[in-house]
């Protein structure tokens, strides 16, 4: 992936804006760009969502598959998250196996969903130790204008809430699928992610690509509906102070509450 060189003048201008309490698109520090979320967009996927945050756009698809559980968790289903920064989305993305940015995006999204207990994975066990549902969550990034993390988690949450799986029964130790009967994926919790960029000494939420390119550091905080922190990931080449981190956590509580309103009311 190429290295994008940002002219010093843009860096300075964006920093000065923030120092004056402003942003280039007139948002306040705690404002998201326009959010668009639609579910059920791919008929062949058992769950799907199209999410836009500003000009950033991600397609998320969920596909269940019957497989073997991990040997150390024999009665628990599996959630697998994969992400592709396809070259469609940005002149800087290149074809090929997922690079480190793509891997980080998938793993942070995965941890956020899993640690929050979004899906009741125990209900996905069909035959203990032998057959469980595996849910493949695929993030297809098609337009990249910054803040992939929050869009990925929002889209994943919505796609999982949209997902219906076939009823699997066990008859004589064999799994029997009823393709007619579909039941919603058992959703136990809701969690979203809130990302701040540090620019001009301040933390601003939902950085655009332009802001990401000049930011000193980044912090992404995953939070459940009950306000507990389920995931966190610092990024960027500069440090954060403890105070900045704790303030980001505090602000995340408020912001996530509003963000949750974009999710569908219930799943089915």
């Amino acid at each position: 992936m190429g290295v994008t060189i940002i002219p010093e003048i843009i860096r300075e201008s964006l920093n000065n804006l923030v120092k004056n309490g402003e942003r280039s698109d007139d948002r306040s520090f705690d404002d998201y760009r326009d959010i668009y979320l639609e579910t059920g967009v791919i008929s062949k996927a058992e769950g799907s969502a199209r999410v836009k945050i500003g000009k950033t756009q991600i397609m998320v698809g969920a596909k269940p598959q019957i497989g073997e559980p991990f040997s150390d968790t024999p009665n628990v289903g599996v959630l697998m998250t994969n992400s592709e920064l396809i070259p469609m989305a940005s002149p800087d993305f290149e074809p090929g196996p997922p690079d480190e940015r793509s891997v980080e995006l998938a793993r942070v999204t995965d941890r956020c969903m899993r640690e929050a207990g979004v899906v009741d994975l125990e209900k996905l066990c069909i035959i203990e130790g032998k057959k469980v549902w595996m849910i493949f969550l695929d993030l297809h990034i098609i337009d990249y204008d910054g803040n992939l993390m929050d869009a990925a988690v929002l889209g994943s949450m919505a796609a999982l809430m949209d997902t219906k799986i076939q009823e699997a029964k066990v008859v004589d130790d064999e799994v029997v699928i009823d393709p007619e009967k579909k039941v919603p994926l058992p959703i136990k919790e809701k969690a979203l992610m809130c990302t701040f960029a540090k620019i001009g000494g301040e933390l601003i939420v939902d950085p655009s690509l332009e802001e990401e390119q000049v930011m000193d550091a980044r912090i992404s905080i995953g939070m459940r509906a009950d306000g507990s922190i389920c995931a966190m990931q610092k990024g960027g080449m500069q440090p954060l102070t403890k105070d900045e981190i704790l303030k980001a956590v505090e602000r995340t509580g408020e912001i996530t509450k509003k963000l949750m309103e974009h999710l569908p009311q219930n799943n089915q």
Binding site: K44, A45, S48, Q57, P87, A89, H140, D143
Partner: protein, 242 residues
């Protein structure tokens, strides 16, 4: 900014035998084409055709970094046809397989004749075709959308390449096979043309056809191309005004 063209009025003059989905033998599935649907790409287009959903981004003409691919007297046109993992019934593993490698190659050859490549020596024009949902006929859908995306990117072209398949299903020559028809059908013939001259830029045939059946199928596919061609032009006009 986003334009939607549908074909509700198309196929109305066909009264021949009905197919599983109720279409006449020379009837296309419902479709829509939109231009300019992505922000970062230099040009883009979105196409739905039956259950197919295809997104195309175009980048370029831009600098080509891989020296051994560089052409001293023209641009290289690179296509990447890719299926999203969730686009098919059984999840597709990410990354290119043999099928997508072949389709990428012939898509590139289908588009090349229409593009003034000689205007951009030593550079590349990259066409990224993402199949978001597949229901039979994605290679043609990708080519048709790619032309609109190339136009949206302002790439100078002789013509708007357009593609459509015809084939043989239950003994009859029919237009635009659905996934079900393709699976049980006897033959599938994807065709791309440059509509101004009618010249063929993509042609494959998969299945068994007598030479007579083949000619009929080819003619029908070209008819389908002509219908889609209108929708391509309208999509571009709606995007840029006339």
């Amino acid at each position: 900014m986003i334009t939607i063209i549908t074909n509700k009025i198309l196929g109305k003059d066909s009264t021949s035998s009905k197919r599983a989905d109720g279409r006449a033998s020379d009837e296309l599935r419902p479709f829509k084409i939109e231009a300019g649907v992505l922000e970062r790409a230099d040009g883009s287009a979105y196409l739905e055709l039956g259950g197919n959903k295809v997104m195309v981004a175009v980048y370029g003409p831009r600098e080509l970094h891989i020296r051994r691919l560089m052409q001293p007297d023209r641009a290289v046109l690179r296509c990447r046809y890719n299926m999203a993992p969730f686009s098919v019934d059984d999840r597709k593993r990410p990354g290119p397989d043999r099928r997508s490698v072949e389709i990428s190659k012939i898509t590139s050859e289908a588009l090349m004749p229409a593009v003034f490549l000689e205007k951009f020596p030593r550079s590349t024009i990259d066409v990224f075709i993402e199949v978001l949902e597949a229901e039979g006929g994605t290679r043609c859908a990708g080519i048709t959308a790619a032309s609109v995306a190339l136009a949206d990117a302002g790439v100078p072209m002789r013509d708007l390449v357009v593609a459509c398949a015809a084939g043989k299903s239950e003994g009859e020559v029919v237009l635009d096979l659905s996934e079900a028809e393709d699976k049980d059908g006897e033959a599938d013939v994807p065709v791309a043309i440059m509509p101004r001259t009618g010249e063929v830029t993509l042609l494959q045939s998969d299945g068994n056809l007598t030479p007579e059946e083949f000619e009929k199928t080819l003619n029908l596919a070209i008819e389908g191309c002509m219908k889609l061609s209108e929708a391509q032009k309208e999509a571009i006009i709606k995007r840029y005004g006339d």
